[in-house]
């Protein structure tokens, strides 16, 4: 066969170097282990405060990772505040309706997932900036609807009281947030290691080519939306239960849509460890700066983010050498 002869002399490898080995999961396991041990450290008199920061770091990790899962399918969304808010409000309203919290949590997540399918169907043919703008508009629509529901139902612009999660026990709350992050990590790994990875990556890297190769883009784009928004809603549930007061302006704020995006880019797009690590580094940096550079901390924060994106185009995950084409989780 002439094709064979043409390649003679080239080294033949047994397997592509991107093949993911079980060892690739070690950094993730290490991270989860450290996060699990955090409450048992001697935190001293500021334990409550530190646990709260750690809690919201886990929430930011869930948000970033869920956003990344959607981005893997080429859908760069600015609607994550909407799903976060739908989770928070869905949870609060289900509690009001008398559901036990353990049931209200998954039901709120699935409801947000269901609503996301509407957005996904509408934006199916959009890409890039048009897609982003549509998702941004969607967030405003959801916020406006919630805000204009009768005040007796959703609290209107004033907001809604939410019963404290797990009786306000901050260690138990932290443990729950850790469990939900671990669950999100598992979902992310499942996406990465199954056929979903190939479908999402193909759609992202060439939608028309993917379709010619038989990838059913409608099914996979909607699936990405459903998975991503359900997980983001879980983060919203944690937020609602921790702050025990939610209002439309803060819950649906643009910052909640932007943060997962910057966090994932900073940590390393299309990976599981990257967004989680990015959330940790950025949240800790934000707190430290907040304490040391009182007034201008957002300026410094923004500069750090800009410079790191300039020098680390692949995010924190790009710091690892000899991994030119990935193989990371």
């Amino acid at each position: 066969m002439s094709a064979r002869q043409a390649e003679a002399g080239a080294p033949v490898r047994a397997a592509p170097r991107r093949e993911i080995t079980p060892g690739a999961a070690l950094p993730l396991l290490g991270f989860l282990l450290l996060a699990a041990l955090f409450p048992f450290l001697p935190l001293g008199s500021r334990a409550e405060f530190l646990l709260q920061i750690a809690f919201f770091t886990l929430v930011a990790g869930i948000m970033a990772l869920s956003w990344d899962i959607l981005a893997r399918s080429g859908q760069v969304s600015l609607a994550h505040a909407a799903f976060y808010g739908l989770g928070a409000y869905g949870y609060a309203l289900l509690l009001k309706a008398g559901l036990p919290w353990l049931l209200a949590m998954p039901v709120a997540a699935l409801l947000a997932g269901g609503v996301s399918l509407i957005l996904g169907a509408v934006t199916m043919r959009l890409s890039g900036m048009y897609f982003a703008i549509a998702t941004l508009a969607f967030t405003e629509v959801v916020r406006t609807i919630i805000q204009n529901l009768p005040e007796s139902v959703a609290g209107g612009a004033t907001g809604l009281l939410v019963p404290a999660l797990l009786g306000g026990n901050s260690r138990a709350q932290y443990a729950l947030a850790w469990g939900l992050l671990a669950f999100t990590v598992l979902v992310s790994l499942a996406v990465r290691l199954t056929r979903l990875h190939f479908a999402f990556a193909a759609i992202r890297q060439g939608e028309e080519t993917a379709r010619v190769l038989g990838v059913s883009i409608v099914r996979f784009k909607l699936l990405a939306f459903f998975i991503s928004s359900s997980l983001a809603a879980l983060a919203g549930v944690l937020y609602a239960g921790k702050t025990f007061f939610i209002n439309p302006l803060e819950t649906f704020s643009l910052a909640n849509s932007i943060a997962p995006l910057t966090t994932s880019i900073f940590g390393g797009l299309y990976t599981t460890l990257g967004p989680v690590l990015g959330a940790t580094v950025l949240r800790v940096a934000e707190e430290l700066l907040h304490n040391s550079v009182k007034d201008g901390y957002l300026v410094v924060y923004g500069l750090v983010l800009m410079l790191s994106i300039l020098w680390l185009p692949r995010g924190l995950m790009g710091l690892r050498r000899n991994r030119k084409h990935g193989g990371d989780l």
Binding site: A201, Q205, G214
Partner: protein, 261 residues
């Protein structure tokens, strides 16, 4: 080689394999421009069918109608006996249509092996990942790309990229493979390898429909030729028959040299 053909006519029933693709009066208008007009032809099992014609004759538009990039303004398309005119690209792929693009379109962040795995995994419903990986390996062996399996697509030469296009399309397990000027940009030696590759595809039982500018390649490969000009079918038949047709000759610059080029 199918013998009993006449210019602009149909094959005699005796020489026909089963029909894989049938276009009936396909037309495509872009505003006032009639890019493809009333094109009909039948592609048979195991046949290598060439579509030729001067620049702007509507060949690529026709290919886009076949693969589902465009919906026709009029006409029907049958694939493996099923009307797929209203089917989207992915459904046509599942029904047995494969396509390799003229401008290669590898997935840039995937390795060569992963590129082919996408085709093997989604080309037909219900494929599982481990089996798809295995089939991708087999196709890389067959197309001479096994040594480059773990490279990124941009590290390949043009010929290797074209092989990747073909390997990925074959991974979808098609009954018909559409090739859009696969020889474009190749050096003569490389073109010979590409010709051998296409022959190998047909020998594996896949019918091939290809667009080509290089006439010696058409002569060497095609069982039958469809000549297009200004969006319409000018002639159909064997290479010898269509090149002897005065209408075809005049469409190619009006000289016989046009066909030798």
């Amino acid at each position: 080689m199918t013998a009993a053909t006449t210019i602009g006519g149909t094959l005699s029933p005796a020489s026909q394999g089963a029909e894989v693709l049938r276009a009936e009066g396909l037309s495509k208008r872009f505003g006032g421009l009639k890019a493809v007009q009333d094109v009909s032809f039948t592609h048979h099992q195991g046949e290598i069918l060439a579509v030729i014609g001067p620049n702007g004759a509507g060949k690529t538009t026709l290919l886009n109608l076949l693969s589902g990039v465009y919906r026709p303004s009029a006409g029907r398309l049958h694939l493996m006996g099923r009307d797929v005119t209203d089917q989207p690209m992915e459904a046509r792929c599942h029904a047995g249509l494969g396509r390799a693009f003229q401008i290669v379109r590898p997935f840039p962040e995937m390795t060569v092996h992963e590129n082919v795995t996408v085709g093997a995994l989604f080309g037909k419903p219900g494929q599982r990942l481990p089996e798809a990986r295995e089939r991708a390996w087999a196709l890389l062996e067959r197309t001479g790309l096994a040594a480059h399996a773990d490279k990124a697509a941009h590290e390949l030469t043009l010929l290797q990229d074209k092989r990747l296009e073909v390997a990925r399309a074959l991974a979808t397990n098609p009954s018909v493979l559409l090739l859009d000027e696969v020889m474009a940009g190749l050096r003569p030696g490389e073109a010979q390898e590409a010709v051998a590759l296409v022959r190998g595809v047909r020998e594996s039982g896949v019918s091939v429909l290809f667009i080509e500018h290089i006439m010696p390649v058409v002569r060497d490969l095609a069982d039958r030729v469809v000549v297009m000009d200004q969006g319409q079918v000018l002639a159909q038949g064997t290479y010898r028959e269509v090149t002897a047709d005065p209408r075809v000759v005049s469409a190619y610059l009006g000289t016989e040299e046009g066909l030798q080029a």
